[in-house]
Symmetry: C2
């Protein structure tokens, strides 16, 4: 792998810039994260960040709503926007020159959105509609509930908000959040592709250096309920989610956990896939994954199965999780390493993947990692280290969520 060319640059107002020049591509992708996430929504106005992510697109700076979208489409930008727990994220990808030409509009979006009165009701209605759509999607409902009851408050909040909050939400609520929570302090601007790094630095200075930081209010509220939730619904399948705490991504043992989860659920030779899906035919979908926020980590599992096989599926899922503590084999570890390295190297060819990885690295680690660094970390893991870790950290203290027609018998250690 040729050396990767990075820029990292911190503005004095707290905005961080991360960029990568990719020699093999003509495209570029950018991700702009502002620290307006569900975790800091006012406790009686959950969903504020979500409605804002819709409303800011309705005109910013010199452009009204139609001019704004027409402008970005004239550049051919493939774009995305979403409110998450810690951030609202705006993404754009296209030929590199077009992404660069679109940056002014994105600076307008996070700094000079018009938030027009006439568009507030439609934007809020859309948020209410997408929320009510969850009832038609039991899998999504399950995963939202699992987050809510597992992650420490307020990180488990559903970014979509809740019905009563959204119904109570006003334009002035939304405008106030924009003024205080669309702030450069903690914002991240990441870009990767066919770009010039010193040009990016200059552009970031020009677009963002005079952006004044604010002091957002800390969130209020508390954990309402944790660890177990059963939602009765007359579904055709029972949806099972489980989670347990793990280490965060900066922990020295991080790749031990990642590789162990890869043994459990990576590829088609993963234990969950072979034991629960292939041999027993219990489930169509079964998986486990590692997920994290700054300073915290968790392992999350999901299975969707027919109602009459739900109990057996949950039992087997727990057996496989606990069997991890007996260790993995050298062959399993080798395959896990190759799988993780393969996806890491391949994501290095995509400007969108790289922009996302840069933003994520900055958020979690406040520095950028090269792909070589990640590969070396994976290669450096020994079988002894993984198995020592697994023996010492038996899964347990599970959070369990179930959506389906019938409650299941839980393990005694849940």
């Amino acid at each position: 792998m040729a050396d990767q060319q990075f820029l990292t640059h911190a503005l004095s107002n707290g905005l961080s810039v991360g960029a990568e020049k990719m020699p093999g591509v003509r495209s570029a992708a950018m991700a702009l994260l502002v620290p307006c996430g569900a975790s800091a929504d006012p406790h009686d106005r959950l969903g504020t960040a979500n409605v804002l992510a819709e409303l800011v697109m309705r005109g910013a700076g010199d452009r009204d709503s139609k001019q704004f979208t027409d402008h970005l489409d004239t550049l051919g930008l493939q774009r995305s926007s979403s409110a998450a727990v810690l951030y609202t994220r705006y993404g754009a990808a296209a030929m590199a020159d077009n992404v660069l030409q679109g940056l002014d509009a994105y600076a307008d979006l996070v700094r000079r959105a018009r938030l027009p009165e006439n568009d507030f009701e439609p934007a809020r209605d859309l948020a209410l509609q997408s929320l009510s759509g969850i009832d038609d999607d039991p899998r999504q409902k399950l995963l939202i509930k699992l987050r809510e009851i597992h992650w420490p408050w307020p990180f488990g909040r559903n970014p979509m908000g809740d019905k009563s909050s959204l119904e109570a939400l006003t334009l002035s609520d939304v405008r106030r959040s924009y003024q205080t929570r669309y702030t450069p302090a903690g914002a991240i601007f990441a870009i990767a592709g066919d770009i010039d790094l010193s040009d990016i630095r200059d552009r970031a200075e020009r677009l963002f250096a005079d952006w004044q930081p604010t002091q957002p209010e800390p969130p209020q509220g508390q954990q309402t309920q944790r660890r177990y939730h059963f939602e009765q619904q007359a579904t055709e399948q029972t949806h099972i989610g489980l989670a347990f705490d793990s280490i965060d991504e900066t922990h020295v043992d991080y790749y031990l956990v990642r590789l162990a989860i890869e043994v459990l659920s990576g590829g088609m030779s993963g234990r969950l896939f072979t034991e629960i899906r292939e041999k027993k035919g219990l489930v169509y979908n079964v998986s486990a994954s590692y997920s994290s926020l700054p300073g915290i980590g968790a392992v999350t599992g999901y299975a969707g199965t027919s109602n009459d096989r739900a109990q057996q599926t949950l039992d087997q899922f727990l057996i496989e999780l606990e069997r991890l503590s007996e260790g993995v084999t050298q062959e399993e570890l080798d395959r896990a390493k190759i799988g993780l390295k393969s996806s890491t190297i391949m994501s290095g060819e995509s400007s969108s993947s790289r922009a996302g990885a840069i933003a994520h690295d900055w958020l979690i680690r406040q520095r950028l990692r090269t792909i070589d660094e990640i590969i070396k970390a994976i290669d450096g893991v020994t079988l002894t280290a993984v198995n020592d870790y697994l023996r010492a950290h038996k899964p347990g203290n599970y959070t369990i969520a179930i959506v389906g027609p019938k409650e299941l018998v839980l393990p005694t250690n849940a």
Copy 2:
């Protein structure tokens, strides 16, 4: 754009090879299509191709089920398999050398699968499970139904099969289909990435040249029902699908249609998005797209909306479709061109996208197109040509499918 380097090569048994050497990448991706699709499933054994796509992974050539998956995971292959209407498709992507090393196993898979008796019941159970899961997913249910009632028989068949067929299916049914329908006549092997074209040609000859073609039986049956379907279900949202016939991809006017649909549904300045979602806030999701099979094409639309707004959504959707015949503006066409060109050029950077495009081009056109050729075709479209076409081809004779609690009033020309 530098000249693209292609190989096309036809084996005497009917298998077509298409390959592209991509200078900028270290990865490779391959797609192997065998002509075993739902359209040729025996009429009382619908879902045969689907069960086969699962069962062939359970061991092939010298490797049993575990050895087979372990082998592919040891190469770090990110893989996919799916039975579609005309084909079953196997895909794999990884570092180029690893994809090349995995080709022997894929040749085993399509030529020497073991189809073990013990794995038949679990494989069939999984197919039944995923079929029953559709009841928990009204959007997917709607889209399956729309295909079924719009595409000419047997191209609208649901590749997942149906319950009675799957329950009646036996191992010998599946084995017979494998023997006759996993055949080189009409199969496509596509690969793109960091490869050597003459090496690919040699490998294809070695792996596939002595594969004997068979003569599959033509499908039996007939169109059962067309044009309108209402499925009552107590859902939170009403799901609306509509379709009308269009020209096929090889038609000289193809890019007129593609660009008109881009005006309707491309980017966020698309008419459906601005008129139905943004201004009226009627729907969270609304879109239209062009889809095709060899020799036939269709425009398909989808909207998911709250039940009390469903009628208005359908009405507005039809108004926007019919308004197309009044023509589009130069600005709309320019944006549509940029959007389509942007996504075309960007997909040229991904080995997986290129392998997919090569297989698709071969299937539809029996030749490969360069990205430059596609860009030129898009650039060559004039406003007059689009608007003349739209005036002469007013949408109509709609197929409409609805999943929701309440039937809707249909337009008189549906």
